[in-house]
């Protein structure tokens, strides 16, 4: 059974009444709720716990980490970021949601600024499936309609993805590469744009399905970690003349 840890900075929900109304127990609780129902072995961790809830033990027992952060990216310690980074390279899956695009861990894995355009105007988004044969799109129709979502707009400063699964159409005239996959080391990564804290996006059944699919796609296979370093010759090497 895939073991999922949902990480949330958990600040908006404690500090702002209108956000708490949307996610009374925190965004992590809502994410964990539908992931559990989908049969995943799910736990949560938040920024203000010791070691941000991401101890060596927790990470060593996590197959896929789900990440939601926004206003407190800089409060995540570099030590924990490095720890998560190592685990991803060794095969732990990572699902980065919405404003997690500027988290330290995502930026470290991408190597770019991860910047984008944005607008909070309560506008409609339609997420079009661009790659219907991808497992992350399984069970989704041609598109997902969200009555309101924060606009994230191109250009999005990330490396070219392995697969571009969704493109978001925004009422206000923008588009965005809303669902993309990457591999880094032995780890698989899925970035998914929807999920602004002030809208009930994570109650939407289709959005939930995409996140469940994303977690399943990111789950690591059971295999050995690659061997690096000095390596003996496998074939005879001829002596070179005059060397």
């Amino acid at each position: 059974m895939t073991r999922v840890t949902v990480w949330n900075e958990y600040r908006h929900e404690r500090q702002e009444e209108r956000i708490r109304e949307v996610y009374p127990q925190g965004i992590h609780a809502q994410l964990a709720s539908f992931l559990s129902e989908a049969g995943l072995d799910t736990a949560t961790a938040t920024l203000d716990e010791p070691e941000h809830g991401l101890t060596e033990e927790v990470l060593n027992n996590t197959d896929v980490l789900v990440w939601w952060g926004h206003v407190a990216h800089q409060e995540v310690s570099d030590e924990i970021v490095n720890r998560v980074h190592q685990r991803v390279l060794q095969g732990m899956g990572l699902v980065v949601l919405h404003s997690g695009h500027m988290s330290k861990i995502f930026m470290k894995l991408m190597g770019t600024s991860c910047d984008l355009k944005w607008r909070e105007a309560g506008e409609k988004e339609r997420l079009w499936v661009m790659d219907p044969s991808h497992p992350i799109a399984e069970g989704i129709g041609e598109y997902i309609d969200l009555e309101q979502e924060e606009m994230y707009g191109a250009h999005f400063d990330v490396p070219a993805p392995e697969s571009l699964i969704f493109v978001g159409w925004f009422e206000g005239g923008n588009v965005f590469p809303s669902g993309s996959t990457y591999r880094r080391g032995s780890g698989k990564i899925f970035y998914f744009q929807p999920g602004h804290e002030s809208y009930p996006t994570y109650y939407n059944k289709e959005i939930q399905q995409v996140i469940i699919n994303g977690v399943n796609w990111c789950a690591p296979a059971k295999r050995d970690y690659p061997v690096y370093g000095h390596s003996e010759a496998l074939e005879p090497i001829r002596e070179k003349v005059g060397v």
Copy 2:
């Protein structure tokens, strides 16, 4: 005219007689020599200069940076690495040679460990062209033979490249993705494996041609840097009922 800065840590050549015999003025001098002859506006910079020779002014006047480092990666200051990183994202090209695969700047751009197998056994390498339609392979036949080169072997822990241009065949039985391109932000990156300090690889005319091609391919276009951040709506947004 493309402005190239060749950066070299310049330690082996000063500390080891047998390396100095191969590159009496340093690897950077040899690289700069054939790049200049190819009509590129070429300067050099080395680790032990102030700011490693990579001041704001130098970088602002560099179109493509060529990087050779090996034993002193950790001596490159994070501040300079961040400065180079910013310039790459803004469009400066970067050619990373041989053991530069473990340089801080390459690791930061890749987001992975950049680890590999290696062996110093004086063995033959044959670099096969895998993508003959790529500009970096222009003027090169089907392969390049190197009488002796350090073995670098798969698995190479980097993200999937934009293009895989060369694969190295090694006498001792290994293969390696020896020439690959990446784009990060507005910058283009070319990694090229040959060039161990103890072999005269950078005197080889075909290797020189590949590096010249790589510099030309990485040269930035003249264009505006993308705009990120808050963005007004371009189309009318309908008021949502009951929100």
Copy 3:
């Protein structure tokens, strides 16, 4: 100087008054006009000429072929399609415009149905630049606005492109991968979606710039065609015991 041949089926313009008003000399004449002004050595060819204007001689002297077709795809002979296909594999560039997505030559190169959604409703399109570092986007701002264009919508049944340069936002709620590049054999291919026959799209200066960029990007390098077939061993092969 890059030699361009603009191919057009040239039927709408001769048969329909309202189309002729937009392109009195044919779409090919308008395309050739701005390509010539950009310094390209440009000729035209049309369906109803002998061999569709694409004789061996014409193709052997063409560096980049631009293709516009719509209602008469099936009238293009398989022999000519095979001839164009061979030339592309040998390095001739190909720019496929708008409804050319269902041309025999594009389908043969893609290996898929090349099908899509469409709607002719005079709606606005905004072409967003998704890859600002690509040469084909040079000189273009963040997006191109077209007051009216035929809607082409995802899913577009083509292989994953080498680069996705534009995504179209349509007023009616759809998105489309509007500019993509491919390489097949030694040839480079650029597909660009705008250009419905009833709208004056090819008079738009930015659209013209993209097509000029596309032709320049597709232009072949001067190099040898790869060698295939039986090949002697380059290294000694040991006799196997008991074989």
Copy 4:
């Protein structure tokens, strides 16, 4: 349970004694044997059966088709090739083995010549895993050694793959992209180079594992086929002034 059809032209084994000694019941029988043991619902089909054994009914009940052909590619009828092609675009997986690289179906899906270098010299091949995180490499160590295999050498004239999983090192000095994946329409494709008719390659347990993995990776998901064609607007379209 995934339903597999193994297709073989079945000529070498009937016409040449030395090949029959290696595969007495035909290559298809040997492939079917280990695929069945792996729990796959496996059947076979051969060239000289009516409709080459690939009736509408057979294909409609096939999830993944495995293809081995060599001397008789031209005897496969275009009608059957088109039928297989349609099924792949609709989601049927396709595993193409060894000399199947020049089969009509593979060439039609790739859009290129699919040509390569070759040499039958009984030389050693070492298949290096280039992408250890890919499911097709699961259960395989760092490489697979084959005492003897036909040399297939770069350049291989196919489009850039989705993933490059294996590169073959050949004793005689060549390399080859020996395992690659593609997606075309809703179908997944895996090309795998080993398997010359005169060597006992398909008795090798690791080669068998790769082929089993490839079949499993290519198996289609249960989902709807994309909808193409005319499409009504999803958002209101404003009337344009003066049009």
